[in-house]
Symmetry: C3
Subunit: 336 residues, 3 copies
């Protein structure tokens, strides 16, 4: 467990300790829930009452904070308490990840694989032939990296991720536990007897830089060419991305959404949870789509908002819903 | 495979054998599908015809059962056939799980981890630093237990589960294969250039006692504080639980439901499959929500029923649906 | 990486090289995206312009293809370019899979397990007691095969699949990464105090021949008897199949669909993505169900089409949707 004195924390944040600089903290908490050993912050005056009763070992406050009652907690005074707290969180997460280092002797790494400097390869990781792993990449236990995969610098791959043969992962990506990248696309040729013959799926998945893939999300490889997740896209958990899909730059997609084959989602889009896209359509940049929507057609105009299954422009959707609830009443009146 | 004589089964159930007490059974089946070597039961008279043709080696019947035709199967007579059968099932499952014992030499266990008495740690399990594992806990192969995790007595964790750093799992829980607990919540701060910066997620997931987590379900850790699954809650497969969600005591949630960030689901609720909850709402205790519903607002009254996307009170929903199907007719009439 | 000369490819396809037969190719691409080292095809005249600018090392064309401009790429002339290309894809995929061979020393295989000829068992695979693995079966790393499971000839199981105790997998199946087969069904008996007691789930999952199970899909074992996936059925990613469900022969189900307990889906059905089926219903053969539908009742007539939640006959659905969008207008008119 990470452990710091208040003196160390104050130095890190450019602040000053009011109280015991040798007191130790090892976790971060909300002021209203904090226990001994934790550090919290107070920025919003709404939460001020909690500072007089909190169990936190220390609270980060603005330089000009003036307590109106006696305090039992230590203070760390900084210029901007909220900003300092955010920095502390980021620092905490960075340190926590740095704890994982080295190459486990019980990982399986093919001889032809190339590993960059400063990598972490956990126990029971499988790394196939001709794999290239960049600098400072962290690969947690039970991850499968198929032959010819390449993973660029500073990417973090959590436990039990499976990346099939030949896929390409960019820099500074985060792939969460259980995600599957590069499984065969769902393509079958119907036969005369009603059975199906699989269509070989020999393309790849290409995940560009700064992409986030959520836990147990699945991204199928292309039939030919690539399924493409562009720079900065953020995918939540349990999302399905079918073969030959493209997801644009800095597009954010919430959990359990599914995107059928060959659809192109634009850049800077925001997609809610449990949305479904049919295949072979194209969604303009900056489109906003509400949760549980069903997108059956291309959206060609940038920056529009959609909702419903099948989806309508959001304003129309709300008008329709308003009337929908009155339908029984309408029917009664008309029946008379 | 487990194997018992009918004499042993009868003793276990406090019954008597009619037929060959040395006949052996090794599986449990429905009377209408049972093969040789299996044991079935007859409680509902509707199924009586099957007892005259069943291939089962034995059938558990009520003490007062009087066959109307000759039987080829052995009988085990007990006070209450249904109850006895249920006991047999529970006993069978218990024995099956007891088959797994000991600590595999090819598990990876950090020195600082503490293991309780009678644990099973399967091959290729990874157990991180300062992990505490309680008594009689069973951890199947390929499971990842991150640093500082604690797992309390009698919990069973099936193959390939991933539990991230710091999470807390209670007593008598069952976590099914592929579930992910403690992945980082989906929180990003939009930047001026349209990209997103991840917000550190330094909280945990706390799973209380007697909770069931389904296969490939994902539960994200809190940003700060905890994502909380309270005592006795039952989650089906492929469910998404976002950061800082609370799920109440003995609430049951069916497969593929998603709950967005900070939402609080009450106790004793029943939630159907593929339901979506938006974030930051509060659902009263004993609420019942039909499958595929979309819950956009807090539900404040206890014990109400909801359906639809967006959800309405269930009775209203059915009235609306009834009229909905007549809309084309209505339109035709009005157009005249 | 696989590598072939054009001479070898031409021989494989029964064609002739026009250009350099010693040129080497190591991947397959679309003509409009192909890079040096890849082979593409041209069958549809619409794509002819690309052949004059493609970077592909070779293009497969019909025997009678007559270029209208000078070419920089090599040609392989065959009878039917599209068919030859498909054969090439299948051959490529076959060779790629053949690359995986042998039994890894760091797999865990119980002594009582039986392995067929020509199997591949990857590193960190766990194979339990009395497991039977057929000929030419390929089991990728991190897969868990519980006690008493049987897997028949020529089946491929990708990384990190978990198959619980006692399940049966047929011949020529493909199970994608992260799929869970045989987890306990979601069955609980409500107790008087509002808590739930798990109902033991002692049945199995039986997957027949030529079935495809997608990445991170979950299939629960039966309470008693079997959850049955019949011959040739194709399941996409992230699908939920509950206990005691039956899926008919050559039925195709798209991603994220969920099927509740004991429901029987017929043969030759086509089911879209994100569909939900309630439990205990029966769907006739050749039924077609649109994406995001909710199926609440049995469908008894063969070959019908359904859409919507709750689902209606597809033609009715479209009529209802047409009017639905005009509801606000209708309301305005009627309000006058």
């Amino acid at each position: 467990m990470l452990k710091f004195t208040l003196g160390q924390v104050a130095q890190m944040l450019g602040g000053t300790v009011e109280g015991n600089p040798d007191a130790e903290v090892f976790t971060i908490a909300k002021i209203q829930e904090a226990q001994a050993g934790s550090i919290a912050f107070l920025a919003n005056p709404k939460y001020e009452p909690y500072i007089y009763t909190t169990q936190a070992t220390a609270v980060i406050v603005n330089q000009d904070f003036e307590p109106k009652q006696p305090l039992q907690t230590n203070l760390i005074r900084v210029k901007d308490a909220y900003l300092a707290f955010t920095q502390l969180l980021e620092q905490y997460q960075r340190l926590r990840q740095q704890a994982q280092q080295g190459i486990a002797p019980n990982a399986h790494i093919e001889e032809s694989a190339q590993l960059g400097e400063g990598v972490y390869i956990g126990p029971f990781v499988y790394i196939g032939k001709n794999v290239r792993i960049g600098k400072q990449v962290k690969i947690y236990p039970h991850t499968f990296i198929g032959d010819n995969v390449s993973i660029d610098d500073h990417t973090v791959i959590y436990a039990g991720v499976k990346i099939y043969e030949g896929c390409v992962i960019g820099k500074h990506c985060v792939i969460h536990a259980g995600a599957v990248i590069g499984s065969e696309g769902f393509g079958f040729a119907p036969q005369e007897d009603g059975s199906y013959r699989p269509i070989p799926q020999v393309g790849i998945v290409h995940v560009e830089d700064h992409v986030r893939v959520g836990a147990n999300t699945t991204i199928d490889r292309a039939t030919l060419g690539k399924t493409l997740i562009k720079q900065g896209a953020k995918l939540d958990n349990l999302i399905q991305v079918a073969h030959n899909v493209t997801i644009g730059k800095h597009t954010v997609i919430a959990a359990q959404t599914g995107i059928a084959g060959s659809t192109e989602v634009g850049s800077y889009c925001m997609v809610g949870g449990q949305v479904g896209f049919v295949g072979h359509i194209k969604i303009a940049d900056k489109t906003i789509i509400g949760a549980q929507s069903g997108i059956l057609d291309s959206i060609t105009e940038e920056g529009t908002k959609w909702q419903g299954s099948p989806a309508m422009p959001m304003s129309q959707y709300y008008r329709v819903q308003a009337v929908l609830r009155k339908l029984p009443e309408l029917w009664r009146k008309l029946s008379k």
